[in-house]
Amino acid sequence: MTKPRMKVWQPVGLDLPGATLKTLSYVVVDEVVEEAARLSVSAWPRVDAAGRLRFAGEERPRSVRSDLRQLRTFVKSNQAGGGSRPSRLRMGTVLAVRVDKSVLPKPESNEEMLEQASSEPRHPNEWMEPPVYDVTGAARDKAKEAFYAAVAPTVKVGRRA
């Protein structure tokens, strides 16, 4: 069976060539407890023929613990798109950034469980490579699309009530 064709996701407002986007990761601030954050790190998504965001599907996102203060400093120093306000890091914020996955434990592996049990967060310098792009707005729109397309029929272009 041939795999359906997909395009690299091009978030609104992020004007980078597809070849560059493919090298980035999709990093979500998934959970925040006081100054500790869990980041969910996925390969850069593609878009299927229906316009849906699709992730690689070969493995779960990698889970990385971060100190929110360190992350805030890192993002502030390395955020691309000069002039824009620094990202507000909260649950749901999405960063597009190049990541060295080789230093991150594989999902659902013993190493990941050991990292879960470790009290030391990873410094962003260890695994993120600048620049950092904030794509939260575009990602939230895709999340809303995913939700509504799942719970109600989509309508054809031009058929909006």
Partner: protein
């Protein structure tokens, strides 16, 4: 993993004699067809819960109810292991093994395995999915909704709020949270994602009618109750206490009338799945005093880790509610004597106690607790079953 005694929130290692190894056959033999079997899987700082409902009289087959799927392999592995045993001899003929699956809230440690579960073989057997309606930007959430879209129309989607009730055979499932007030704030960033959690109260058995020949009688059986707290935090529980007011024994006519109408303390529960991995933001002494659980179950890595779950102050709240110290200075009892069990607990030889199963009878006080000695990344082996024998 963490070493006992190095931190006060690391569960104490327990004597091996408390958990004699009995193996798969003893575990299977401990379950009658009318029993409810609850599994709390050891997935580290995360939640995966499975209920095997009592076998239906019509076909002798059990249905199952799932609350959260944190990882991809563990739950499908357990289901595959159970399939063909007397606990789950086959998938029901109507195909709906899972009349209900709940994705409590869209954090990876609760739905990280949900896309694969819904997309895989077991997903074909899901009839209804509950999720709170809080959209999240993570891969797990977006792929879960994509799986739901692809499953249309065989999976019914529901966004429940407090009070929503579903009867699954002899199990009554009632939503405690999110309240409607919290729900309407989701879209404004006015609600913490954890407070969007679907917290549940379960009652077993739900049956109230005794059927005879030409005769039916309304009965009030002794019920077993669970509260599954998901990751609900203070804002959520404060709303729950408004929606489900505590009814302390009171002889005032009004209180007696309300109590009669509602049956019993609305939040009291025998089994309390402690919210948010025993985070200090999810548990208060007042809450545990209202619930009055005889069993409190903590799903976390057990000290240290990303967030240092379980938090000591939360554990102390549970202990204090179970053993108040206001009028006495007696030594604090061991956690297992207070009914506190951790997925991350270890026995003295260093083995993890891991996933928990609880077998409950609808007609007696039978309650059997089993442990399967699996680490978070390991599959559950029924052969490793140890019975809790205090």
């Amino acid at each position: 993993m963490s070493a006992t005694g190095t931190q006060p929130n690391v569960p104490a290692e327990l004597g091996e004699k408390l958990f004699p190894k009995e193996g798969m056959q003893a575990f299977l033999d401990s379950v009658e067809s009318e029993d409810l079997v609850y599994f709390l899987l050891n997935v580290g700082d995360g939640d995966t819960q499975l209920f095997l409902l009592p076998a239906r009289e019509q076909d002798g087959v059990r249905r199952a109810f799932v609350v959260d799927v944190a990882t991809t392999g563990k739950l499908p592995g357990l289901l595959t292991t159970l399939l063909g045993t007397k606990l789950l001899p086959k998938v029901p003929d109507d195909g709906y093994l899972f009349p209900l699956v709940v994705a409590s809230h869209p954090h990876d440690d609760h739905i990280g395995g949900m896309p694969e579960f819904l997309t895989g073989e077991w997903g074909k057997n899901v009839r209804e999915l509950w999720e709170p309606g809080y959209y999240h930007t993570s891969e797990s959430y977006i792929e879960m909704m994509r799986a739901l879209e692809d499953a249309d129309p065989h999976i019914q989607h529901t966004q429940p709020t407090s009070g929503t009730t579903r009867f699954l055979g002899r199990l009554r499932v009632q939503v405690l949270s999110p309240s409607i007030a919290l729900r309407t704030r989701f879209d404004t960033y006015g609600t913490d994602l954890n407070d969007a959690s679907i917290a549940l109260r379960l009652e077993f058995p739900a049956s109230r009618v005794e059927q005879g020949r030409f005769r039916r009688t309304y009965v009030r059986p002794k019920i077993r109750t669970f509260i599954l707290g998901a990751d609900s935090l203070l804002a959520s529980w404060s709303q729950v206490l408004v929606d489900f007011p505590e009814l302390r024994p009171d002889k005032a006519p009004t209180a007696r009338a309300i109590q009669k109408a509602l049956g019993r303390d609305a939040l009291r529960a025998e089994i309390f799945k402690v919210p948010h991995h025993a985070s200090k933001h999810g548990v208060t002494l007042g809450l545990v005093e209202v619930v009055q659980p005889s069993l409190s179950l903590v799903s976390s890595v057990g000290g240290g880790g990303k967030y240092n779950f379980p938090h000591l102050v939360a554990l102390e709240a549970i202990r204090e509610a179970r053993q108040p110290t206001t009028l006495s200075q007696t030594k604090r009892k061991d956690d297992y004597l207070l009914g506190v069990h951790y997925t991350a607990a270890r026995i003295k030889n260093g083995d993890c106690l891991g996933s928990i199963a609880i077998v409950l009878s609808p007609t007696s006080r039978k309650r059997v607790i089993w442990r399967f000695c699996d680490e978070p990344a390991d599959p559950i082996q029924l052969d490793s079953a140890r019975r809790f024998s205090p």
